[in-house]
């Protein structure tokens, strides 16, 4: 009947304030007096201790609520559970009440209270059910608030994690190797070709500025990423000269699509460092982008030498790209790599988003 379900969320805590006896007494005492046949004094003397001993009802109600969370079972199954619980608890309450009434009836002024009370015992059931219902309602509200708070916390946590990953990704993307090699090229150029050295400084400055500026934006138009890639390749071109060749086929419509900032830069960097740098005579990097059926498809492909010594940071860039796609698009995006003997190809597909629609 009742199967123990593994709840994913932590079960909410059941809390009942000790002062809850006061509102219970406020209901119980007038009920005893007006509905029953006993005096104010008897109602007070019986009602207040009974209220103190009634806290088990809201407590038990809380556990019943936790056992039968709102919206999980059908309404009548839930209602039945609560009805049985309410009656059972009221019956227990009544069992406690009887010896109280008996004890009080030994007081001369309250003589006969036990007999009167035996007649009015239905009031205990009545008030018991009211107390139970109100408690259950309070618990459901408290649980809902708890759940909402947990969801909120979780959301904050997730967004913090995402932000963290983003920052780490960005930091990882400015590859020190790239930076130092570029500086070395500049230092070589200063004596042979001052103008080109200056040009290279400007390219590097532009690249760094663009990279840093993008850190603040989560998505950018594809065209902006392309501008950054152009700077990057121009810098690498100074280093590798004729060894670095580039072809691209970018569909006009793809330029306006929004993509996570710096998504492609690490792939291009891989294509240079694992592909072009490993080939004595260099090779070609091919970049392709098109929109089809609401999806943006991007391909980065490069020549490579499969006998080449493997380079460090292998896979770091690719892993970063993969996790950023996953963080932003979930199952909506895919990334595939194909390693042939002399070519390496990364193809990805993500939802085509535009600035206007967001």
């Amino acid at each position: 009947m009742a199967t123990v379900m593994a709840e994913r969320r932590k079960a909410p805590a059941v809390r009942v304030p000790k002062l809850a006896w006061i509102p219970i007494a406020i209901v119980l005492v007038p009920s005893l007096f007006t509905l029953g046949h006993i005096s104010w004094l008897s109602a007070l003397l019986l009602g207040i201790p009974l209220s103190l001993f009634s806290l088990f009802i809201p407590l038990a109600a809380g556990y019943v609520c936790r056992f039968s969370p709102s919206g999980r079972d059908r309404w009548w199954s839930s209602a039945l559970t609560h009805l049985v619980a309410a009656l059972l608890l009221s019956f227990l309450w009544r069992l406690i009440a009887t010896p109280f009434a008996r004890a009080l009836s030994f007081i001369p002024q309250l003589y006969g209270l036990d007999k009167q009370f035996a007649q009015d015992a239905w009031i205990i059931y009545f008030v018991g059910c009211i107390v139970y219902s109100l408690s259950a309602a309070f618990h459901y509200v408290a649980f809902a608030q708890d759940a909402a708070r947990q969801v909120e916390l979780k959301a904050v946590e997730t967004s913090m994690l995402a932000r963290d990953a983003e920052l780490r990704a960005l930091r990882a993307q400015i590859n020190p190797h790239f930076l130092f090699n570029s500086l070395n090229s500049i230092s070589a150029l200063t004596s042979v070709d001052g103008a080109r050295a200056r040009e290279m400084c400007l390219l590097l400055a532009d690249f760094l500025r663009l990279t840093l500026g993008m850190g603040e934006k989560s998505v950018i138009p594809f065209s902006e990423e392309l501008a950054l890639l152009e700077k990057f390749l121009a810098i690498e071109k100074v280093r590798f000269g004729e060894r670095l060749r580039m072809t691209e086929s970018i569909e006009e419509g793809a330029r306006q699509c929004l993509i996570p900032a710096l998504l492609l830069q690490p792939l291009l960097e891989n294509a240079v460092s694992h592909g072009i740098a490993s080939m004595a005579d260099g090779g070609t990097i091919h970049l392709e982008a098109r929109v089809q059926a609401g999806r943006l498809g991007i391909v980065v492909e490069n020549d490579r030498d499969d006998e080449a010594p493997s380079r460090r940071r292998n896979g770091v860039g690719l892993k970063n790209v993969r996790s950023r796609l996953e963080a932003r698009y979930g199952r909506e995006a895919s990334l595939r790599t194909e390693a042939a003997e002399d070519r390496f190809r990364v193809s990805m597909s993500l939802p085509a988003e535009y600035a206007e629609t967001r």
Partner: protein, 254 residues
Amino acid sequence: MSKAEHRKLRTLVVDDEDLARQVLRELLGAHPEIEVIAECRNGLEAVKAFAEHKPDLLFLDVQMPKLTGFDVLELIGAETPVIFVTAYDEYAMKAFEVHAVDYLLKPVGKERLASALQRVKARPPEKVLAASELAAAARPAGQFAERLVVKDGTRVTLIPVGKLDFAEAQDDYVALASEGKKHLKQQTIASLEAALDPRLFVRIHRSYIVNLERVARIEPYGKESRVAVLASGIKLPVSRAGYARLQTLLQERS
């Protein structure tokens, strides 16, 4: 000693980037005792040029096409002083420090270059450095060699580790059996063992390392001893310790 000081140091500069070679040549121009006899654009050229020119000093880039700086060092032997040049490679830098090899960081400055040259001149030339150890130290922990480099005369052969069937110790050399051929390499079997992934290669005997994928079966051989029969039919001796290693590895795999 004094004569050696007046002799020019015949130097080889090896780097795959034109600009990087250019800046080194320019900086070396300020040192009249250095004569750059050749420049190489990759490791293969370097091995060839080394055999041809027998230089007194090498500037070696670490990351290059075909062969890395470490591969080159492994192939040319360690009698000639080498100054490594690298942009940024934390593992390589650590390896250089551990083995007291001199290295320059890009961009290279003239003071740093002068002090490196000073050290080369001060260092006794008979200082021998085990290139394979240096290469091993430059590998991040948990990473193993992906291919082995062997030189036969001026011919350089690259053997991807997947194509290595077994290795046999022969005095100071190891014979690497791959695709029906044997390649001799000056290396100890222990250092080869350390470079290979222990999940794929087992030292089955004091003198043998075998590629686990090539082992067809193990047969008893006389009393107490066994042989490993490879898919190609070749039989290799298995020592008792080697058999134990083989068994634990096979258990881990299953």
